[in-house]
C-alpha cells in the first residue's frame, strides 16, 4: 500500500517534470525540471531496492551531468538566451522522430514479459561488479573506449582556436 503510494508520487513527479521540460521556454527552468525528473527516477530505483543504481543515478546524472549542464547554460546570458521554439520544417522531423521513439517504447513495454520476482540480493554492488568484469567484459570495455573517444573529442573541440604564434607556424602564412 505504502509502496504503491510512493510509487505513484514519484512516477507522477517524473511524468510532470518531463511534461514541464517540454512546456517551459526558459532553458534554465528546463534544466531544473530535468534534474527533478532524474531525482524522481532515482527515487523509483530506491523503491525497487536497487540502491546502488539509484545512488549512481543521483551521483552521476544529478551531481555530475546536471551540474555541468546548468553550468553551461549559465554561461549564456538570460536576455540573449534563445527562446526554444522549433521552426515549421523542424516540427515535421521532430514529430517523426518522436513518433518512432514512442512506438518503440510502447512496443517494448507491451512485448516484455513482466515478472514479479523477489527483491534482488542485498549485496548488489558486488554482483554488478562481478557481472561487469565477467559476463559483460566486452561491452564494458567498448563503452569505456567510447567514453575515451568522447573525451578526446571534447578536448579537441575545446582547444584554443587561435593558432599558436610559433616561429615555424607563422613562416608559411601571410598576415593579412
Amino acid at each position: 500500500m505504502l509502496e504503491a503510494v510512493i510509487f505513484f508520487l514519484l512516477a507522477g513527479l517524473a511524468v510532470a517534470a518531463g511534461v514541464a521540460i517540454l512546456l517551459s521556454t526558459s532553458i534554465v527552468r528546463m534544466a531544473y525540471w530535468l534534474i527533478t525528473m532524474l531525482i524522481a527516477v532515482g527515487g523509483l530505483y530506491f523503491l525497487l531496492g536497487a540502491y546502488f543504481v539509484g545512488v549512481i543515478q543521483i551521483l552521476v546524472y544529478v551531481g555530475g551531468v546536471a551540474v555541468l549542464l546548468v553550468f553551461g547554460v549559465m554561461l549564456t546570458s538570460r536576455q540573449l538566451a534563445p527562446k526554444l521554439r522549433p521552426g515549421r520544417g523542424e516540427v515535421v522531423w521532430l514529430a517523426l522522430v518522436g513518433f518512432v521513439l514512442l512506438e518503440a517504447l510502447t512496443l517494448s513495454i507491451l512485448h516484455t514479459r513482466w515478472q514479479q520476482n523477489a527483491m534482488a540480493p542485498a549485496n548488489s554492488v558486488g554482483e554488478i561488479g562481478r557481472s561487469l568484469l565477467g559476463e559483460f567484459l566486452g561491452p564494458f570495455e567498448l563503452v569505456s573506449v567510447l567514453l575515451l573517444v568522447a573525451m578526446l573529442g571534447a578536448a579537441y573541440l575545446a582547444r584554443p582556436k587561435v593558432p599558436t604564434q610559433g616561429p615555424q607556424h607563422a613562416k608559411g602564412t601571410t598576415v593579412p
Binding site: 531544473y32 545512488v55 544529478v62 551531481g63 555530475g64 551540474v67 555541468l68 549559465m74 548488489s124
Partner: protein, 458 residues
C-alpha cells in the same frame, strides 16, 4: 516631493544628513507570530534564560541522554517502524541544528583567537555562547527580500535544495554500531550523492538572484565542485578497495582495535589519501582556501549576496552541516570512526570528538590560509591533486595485492615488493610535504606570467 524638498533645509544639518527613511516592514504569518511572542515574553524570558544558562544546558543534556536511553530501551521495541523513523529523524535534525549553531559560534571564536581578538563575548553568560541563537532570532525577524528581476520560484526554492540534501546525508552516516538511521550497503555513495545535490542549490540560488556577483559565485562553485569531486572520490576508492565494502558501518567496524588498525596507518598511500580527501573536501564544501564561491573580497558575498533573513540562514546551516558531514566521512573511513585509540572503548562519543576535531581544523585552515584564485584552484586540482590521487590508488592496490592469499602473484619476492612499495609511498609522502613546503616558500609568488605584468609591486 515638494514639501520634503522645502522642509529639508530647515532641519539642522547634522540630523538631516543622516536621517534615512526606512520602509516600514510589515510582518505577516509566522514571522508576525514570532515577533509578537518575542516582544511579549522576551523581556522576561531572555534574562531568565541567561541567568540559568548553565543549569538549562546541563538539564537539557541530561534530558536528551535520558530520553534517548528510555526510547531505545523501552519504547522503541513496542512501536511500529515509522514512529522509530520519526523519532530518529527528529533527533538527527536536533543534532544537526546544534552542530550548525555551535559551529557558527565556534567559527567566530576560532577566528577571534587566531586574529588576537575575543570574538563574541556579550550574548549569553559565558564567552558569548548564545550569539548564534541571538543571530537566529534576528534573522527570523528580518524581511524576506527578493530582487525584482530575480527568477522568483527558483530563488525561493534554492535554500531548501541546499539544506535538505545536506541533512539527508546524515541519514546514512553512522555514529556507532547501531547508531545509524539506515545502514545501507551503499552508504558512502549515498552521502557523496547528497553532498553533490547540495551544490545544485547553491548554483540555483546564484543564477536565480540575477546578480553578477551571485552568478560568478555559482559558476565558480560549479566548476570547482565538478573538478574536486574526482580526487575526493578516488581517494575514497583507495580506502574502499582496501576494506572491501561501501557500507559505512562495515568500514567503521573493520577498523576496530586500537589506533594502529585505523585505515590511516595501514600503508603510506592511504595516509596520503586521507590528506588528499581532506583537501578535496575543503573544496567541495567551499571552505577556505577554496571559498571562491563566496569570495568576500571580490564578490560581495558570492552566491548568497541577494539573500536575507531566514533563507540566508539556511545557506549557512547547509554549509556547516556539509562541513560536519565530510568530516564524519573522513572520520569513519580513515580515522576509525567510533573506535577508540585504545581497544575496547568504542563509543559514538569518539566519533563526535574526531569529527569535531576535523571541523576545527577546517576553521583553523580557513583563518590561516589566504584565498587562492580560480585558475590556481583548477590548476592545483587537474595538474597536481588528480595525478597524485591516481598514483595513491595504484600504490594502495599494489600494496594490498602482495600479501593477499588469493593472489599468489608476488609470493616469491613479497619482501622486495613491500620494500619497493614502501619506498615509493615514503617518496610520495615526502613529495607531498615538499610540495607543501615549496608552496609555502613561494607563497607570495603569482602563478601566471600574464597577471604578474599588470600587478604593481610584483
Amino acid at each position: 516631493m515638494n514639501q520634503t524638498a522645502n522642509i529639508k533645509p530647515q532641519t539642522p544639518l547634522g540630523q538631516a544628513m543622516f536621517v534615512c527613511e526606512r520602509p516600514k516592514v510589515e510582518y505577516r504569518g509566522l514571522s508576525l507570530k514570532i515577533v509578537q511572542l518575542a516582544t511579549k515574553w522576551g523581556p522576561i524570558g531572555i534574562p531568565l534564560l541567561l541567568r540559568f544558562a548553565w543549569g538549562i544546558f546541563f538539564a537539557a543534556l541530561v534530558f536528551v541522554i535520558a530520553f534517548v536511553w528510555v526510547v531505545g530501551r523501552f519504547i522503541n521495541p513496542l512501536l511500529p517502524w515509522f514512529v522509530r523513523d520519526v523519532v530518529v529523524v527528529v533527533g538527527l535534525l536536533a543534532f544537526v541544528s546544534i552542530v550548525a549553531i555551535i559551529g557558527i559560534w565556534g567559527e567566530r571564536k576560532v577566528s577571534g583567537r587566531i586574529q588576537s581578538r575575543l570574538g563574541p563575548m556579550r550574548t549569553g553568560a559565558w564567552h558569548g555562547w548564545a550569539q548564534s541563537l541571538a543571530d537566529g532570532l534576528k534573522f527570523v525577524q528580518k524581511e524576506d527580500l527578493i530582487p525584482q528581476d530575480a527568477d522568483k520560484p527558483l530563488f525561493r526554492l534554492a535554500p531548501y535544495v541546499a539544506l535538505v540534501p545536506a541533512f539527508c546525508a546524515y541519514l546514512a552516516i553512522p555514529f556507532g554500531v547501531g547508531w545509524v538511521f539506515h545502514d545501507s550497503d551503499v552508504g558512502l555513495l549515498f552521502v557523496l550523492a547528497m553532498l553533490a545535490i547540495e551544490v545544485l542549490g547553491v548554483i540555483m540560488g546564484g543564477w536565480a538572484s540575477n546578480s553578477k556577483w551571485s552568478l560568478y559565485g555559482a559558476m565558480r562553485e560549479g566548476c570547482q565542485l565538478v573538478s574536486y569531486e574526482i580526487p575526493m572520490g578516488l581517494s575514497l576508492v583507495a580506502a574502499v578497495a582496501w576494506l572491501g565494502s561501501l557500507s559505512l558501518v562495515e568500514l567503521g567496524r573493520a577498523q576496530d582495535g586500537g589506533w594502529w588498525s585505523w585505515l590511516l596507518f595501514q600503508n603510506p598511500f592511504l595516509f596520503a589519501a586521507f590528506f588528499t580527501y581532506y583537501i578535496a573536501s575543503l573544496a567541495s564544501c567551499k571552505r577556505s582556501p577554496f571559498d571562491l564561491p563566496e569570495g568576500e573580497s571580490e564578490l560581495v558575498a558570492g552566491f548568497h549576496t541577494e539573500y536575507s533573513g531566514f533563507r540566508f540562514v539556511m545557506f549557512f546551516f547547509a554549509e556547516y552541516m556539509g562541513m560536519f558531514a565530510v568530516s564524519a566521512v573522513a572520520t569513519v573511513i580513515f580515522l576509525g570512526g567510533w573506535n577508540s585509540p585504545v581497544p575496547g572503548l568504542a563509543s559514538p562519543l569518539w566519533f563526535v570528538i574526531k569529527s569535531t576535531f576535523l571541523v576545527w581544523v577546517q576553521m583553523w585552515v580557513r583563518w590561516t590560509l589566504p584565498r587562492i584564485r580560480i585558475d590556481q584552484v583548477m590548476h592545483a586540482c587537474v595538474k597536481y591533486l588528480l595525478p597524485f590521487t591516481l598514483l595513491l590508488f595504484v600504490g594502495s592496490s599494489l600494496w594490498q595485492l602482495y600479501d593477499n592469499p588469493d593472489h599468489r602473484l608476488f609470493e616469491g619476492f613479497a619482501a622486495v615488493v613491500r620494500f619497493g612499495l614502501g619506498c615509493l609511498g615514503l617518496l610520495l609522502l615526502g613529495l607531498y610535504f615538499a610540495g607543501a613546503a615549496y608552496g609555502f616558500y613561494h607563497r607570495n609568488q603569482l602563478v601566471g606570467q600574464m597577471v604578474r605584468k599588470h600587478l604593481p609591486g610584483a
